[in-house]
Amino acid sequence: MKRTVSICCGATFGATGRFAVCLCGLVFCGLPLNLFAVLGGSEASVQTDQAHMQASLKSSNTGPYRVHEMQTASGIVVREYAAGGTVFGVAWEGPWRPDMQQLLGSYFEAYQQALEAQSGVRHGRTPVHIALPGLVVNMGGHMRSFRGNAYIPDMLPQGVAEKEIR
C-alpha cells in the first residue's frame, strides 16, 4: 500500500491532499514512495533524493567511494556514499531531520522496529544507536541540531572505516 501512493508535504495521501498542498504553497513533491529507497539502492537513486529534497547536489570521489552531498533549502546536509553502483551509507546534519523513510528506504521498517524494541525496561532519552546484523543507525543532537548516519556493514568497501560516513 505505502509503496503505491504518493505523499505530499510528507503529510497526507491522495488527490485531496495534493490539492491542499498546492493551496498551502509548500510545494514538496508527489513522487511515488518506492523511488525513495536510497540506502542499499542504486547510485542513480541519489538523483531521486535530490529531486525529493529540492536540494543542491555536489559529487566527489574519495578513494574507494563517491560522496554525493546535498543541501536542502531548510539547511539539512545529506551525504550519500556509493561504491560499485550502490549506496552503502548515508549521513546527515542540520537543524532538522531528513525524511528517514526516504533515506533508509527498504531499511526503514527494520529501523523503526529496532527503535521500538529498544524502549525497554529502563527508560530515558538517549541518542539512537542501532546495530543490527544488516543495518547500523546512529543519531544524536537536540531540537534545531540533528546529526547521524546509517550504513550497511556488509557493503562497506574494504578499508573504509565506519566513522568516515559522516
Binding site: 491542499a20 509548500l26 514538496f28 533549502a73 531548510s74 537543524p95 529502563r122 530515558g124 544524536g140 531540537m143
Partner: protein, 396 residues
Amino acid sequence: MTAIQKCLVVAAAGLSMLGVGCGGSSSGSKSVITTTGQNVAAIAVNAGPDGSYVNGAFVSVTVCAPSSSTCQTVPDILVDTGSSGLRILSSALTVSLPQQNGSSGPVAECLPFVSGFTWGAVQTADVQIGSENASGVPIQVIGETTFPVPNGCRSNGQSLDTLQALGANGLLGVGEFAADCGPACAATGGGNPGLYYQCPSAGCVVAAEAVADQVVNPVALFATDNNGVIVELPTVNGSAGTLSGSLVFGIGTQSNNALGNATVYTVDDFGNFTTTYKGQNYPGSFIDSGSNGYFFLDSATTGIPNCTNATGFYCPTSTQNLTATNQGTNGASGTVNFSVGNAETLFLNLNDSVFGDLGGPGQDFDWGLPFFYGRNVFVAIEGKSTPGGTGPYWAY
C-alpha cells in the same frame, strides 16, 4: 574519585579554593541549591510516572484554560534543556484547553526528537510553574486522537505519544531557543521544515506557522524572570535512589539567581559549542538535561565497549575517569571531569534511578543529566538580556 577527593587533589596542588565549587568539576559555579523564592520550582529526579526512568528530572506544571480558574497541575513533566516548549500527554490532561486555529483549520505539530516524534494539537493555556505565570502560551497536546498522525510525521521513526514511550507526563522544554521552530516554520516554500500542520476535515497538511503562534518555552513568556533558567541538582557519588533540586527562573533578576562566578559559554546558531577530547575538537556538542547520560563519540574512538544488553550505553570493565574541555563560541573554556561506569552493572540496582556515571555512544558530546549533578547550570534564552550578556548561552 569522589567530588570530595577531587577537591582535596585541587587543594593539594596549591590552587586557590576561594569561590571554586567542588561539585564534580574542576571549574564552575558553587553548587548551592536555592529552595525558596517565587521563582523556584522543585525538581525531583526519580523513576518517573511509569517507574522506569533513569536520570530523569521532573517538575509539576499547572495549566489553566486562558483567563480562567479552570486549572490542572500535571506532575512528572520532564525538564528538558535540549528543547523548547511545553508538551503534555493528552492522557494526563483533564482540563479542556482551546484549540489554536489557522486559516485552513486547526493547528497541529509534528516535533522531531532524536529517538522519534511527538504529534498533537496546538492548544493555548495559561501556564504556572512555581509562582511564575505566563498567559496565552501555545502548547502541544500530544497523543490526542482528533487528528491522525500524518504519514510524513511517521517517517521520523517512533511515536513518543504514550506514557510508555515517553516515560513522563510531558516535556518542559526550557532550552536556549524561545519558539520551538523559529522563522523556518513561518516561511513558505522549500525552506520550511514542515513541522506545523493545519487540519481541515480532508486531512492535515503542512502549513506555515507564525513564530508568535509556535509552541514556545513558557519561561520566555513569564511576566518576570523570563531570560532563562538555572537547573540546580546536588552532587551524586555514584548512584542514588532519588534526588531533590530546583528549577530557578531568571538569571540575575533576583537575589537567588545571580550568575556568581559561573563561566558563560556562548553557542553557535544550532545551540552547540565545542568539546575537546583527547586532542580532537567536536563542534556539535551541547548540554541537555533531557538526555539521561553522557553520550559521546563511539566505541571505536573511545575504546570503551558498548553494552551487549543495555543497548545504547557503554559497559567498561571498570569505571573510566575521563576529562574533556568545553569551549564556547566566546572562547571561554573549562575542563570537565566525568566518569563512565558499566551500565549493565549500574542497572542491576532497580532501586536506583540516579546514576552519576552513566554514559554511552553519541554524536560529538551530549552532556546529559549526570553533568548537572553537583553543578548549577544556567540556560539563557536567545535574544534575552542577562548580566552575562545576551542569550543564547550556557553558564556553569
